[in-house]
């Protein structure tokens, strides 16, 4: 995936985020951290060349854990 964030970083930052939603449901996702805003973060899941086509904004208040992860290329053929 094209390098999105932060500009000075050598490569993308992949993160795994656990968060809660409606009715206290618990979710997990992994993607590229593309933006940090005062009250939320934006995680990208899908991109076409330099254009992000799917992302999720997660409010900081809903995040239960966040960690940086290494993501490998899938060997699905």
């Amino acid at each position: 995936m094209k390098k999105f964030y932060p500009e000075k970083n050598v490569s993308n930052i992949y993160i795994e985020v656990s968060f809660t939603g409606k009715q206290d449901r618990e979710y997990i996702c992994t993607g590229v951290l593309i933006r940090e805003m005062p009250e939320s973060i934006r995680v990208a899941f899908n991109a076409t060349e330099d254009h992000v086509t799917d992302y999720l904004d997660i409010p900081n208040s809903k995040i239960t854990s966040i960690r940086r992860v290494k993501v490998m290329q899938s060997n699905v053929k």
Partner: protein, 163 residues
């Protein structure tokens, strides 16, 4: 449960008066990847409590669209007697965005238009009307009719010359 990156190609449409024979653009998705005979499933978001066995948010990709690195995509020939300029009906599988769903099959898309060009990798249909099933009815995709639809040969299930 380890997330992975997966690269794939996809069909596309154009609103330009001409088309180029450029290669398919590479899409890149990150998620929890699994595969069966019907699709490659990429979960972007997984619900862990209470456990949900379907996809909360993710993609179903036809296996033949997975990008094979420097190797060329599998070549496929079409069994159809249609020639350039003939009106055709094409049924093909598309990459499908899913939300809170247990489905495993990609959407089956129907395109009717004029056979503009075909090679070992793609079929180009001009003046296409493309429909997909959505909640028990068929809707046009996209809503504004494009000038060309470029469909990877490998996802075509049926192609018929129309009278």
């Amino acid at each position: 449960m380890i997330a992975k990156i997966i690269k794939y190609i996809d069909s596309y449409y154009l609103y330009t008066p001409t088309y180029s024979t450029s290669i398919f653009r590479i899409h890149e998705a990150c998620g929890y990847v699994s595969k069966d005979e019907q699709s490659v499933r990429v979960e972007f978001v997984r619900q862990i409590r209470p456990r949900f066995d379907g996809i909360v948010r993710g993609l179903l990709i036809p296996p033949s669209l997975i990008h094979k690195g420097n190797k060329k995509q599998k070549k496929t020939s079409l069994e159809c007697d249609a020639k350039q300029g003939d009106k055709i009906l094409v049924k093909w599988e598309d990459v499908t965005l899913v939300s809170y769903s247990k489905r495993r099959k990609c959407s089956l898309i129907k395109t009717v238009g004029v056979l503009e060009d075909v090679d070992s990798q793609r079929l180009i249909v001009s003046n296409p009307t493309t429909t997909k099933r959505y909640r028990n009815s068929r809707i046009e995709h996209p809503k504004k009719r494009p000038t060309f639809y470029v469909i990877p040969i490998s996802v075509i299930k049926i192609i018929k010359k129309m009278q």
